[in-house]
Amino acid sequence: MTGASLFGIEMVDIFLAMAILIVMASFVSLYRGIEGPGIFNRIIAVNVIGTKTIVLLVLIGFIYERPDFFDIALVYAILNFIMTIAATRY
């Protein structure tokens, strides 16, 4: 890992702010997943929330400095892709 601060702000705090913004965007997407008419809007909502979750997992891995989360993010990306393909071919 490289340096820990930029202009007096810790890099971990910047990562935490980005993670909070992504969680807020996920909740806004969850509104469309609940409300949205039809099954296809819900499939896109699940896909979008899964995409945001991958970045969130990588950010959590950098915040807590635990490299295990990158493996979890990789597996989550593969599962998200397989789930979307299976949902569109039922």
């Binding site: 930029l6 980005m18 039809g38 296809f40 896109i44 990588v58 950098f62 990789l74 998200n80 979307t84």
Partner: protein
């Protein structure tokens, strides 16, 4: 703090901010757009680009380690898989028969969907709106 570390941190923060901006813009488009296809237009590109930019920022922050190679694999997989899944969803919705949203009334363009192309249909090209759709008639 050395200069290299500071440049790395500034580059990381800038790429993270641009990526978060793209993800928030895609989310706003996903909630506000009127149609399924236009919502997919908003999310399919903005999320892929925002995620790619944020992962590039974290690669720059992490340096040349094994973790960065892992994140690079993750980014390459996402750049392949996300447009593929978007295409699959759009094709499934089109095969089911979901109609695209139109901004004007359906009875004005009902003759566009019939496809027989009568000569009296081209008579109302001076309305301006039908003029831009006249290419589909022939």
């Amino acid at each position: 703090m050395s200069d290299t570390t500071m440049i790395t941190n500034i580059l990381t923060v800038m790429l993270l901010l641009v990526g978060v901006f793209f993800m928030l813009a895609g989310t706003i488009g996903f909630v506000r757009f009127p149609d399924f296809y236009s919502r997919m237009h908003a999310t399919g590109k903005c999320d892929t680009l925002g995620e790619g930019l944020m992962l590039v920022a974290l690669i720059i922050y992490g340096g040349a380690t094994f973790i960065s190679v892992k994140i690079l694999f993750l980014m390459a997989f996402i750049l392949l898989a996300n447009p593929t899944s978007t295409h699959a969803i759009a094709k499934a919705a089109y095969d089911v028969g979901l109609e695209p949203w139109r901004s004007f009334d359906s009875e004005e363009v009902a003759w566009l969907n019939t496809g027989d192309g009568d000569t009296d249909n081209t008579g109302n090209t001076d309305e301006g709106r039908a003029g831009e759709d006249s290419g589909e008639v022939q």
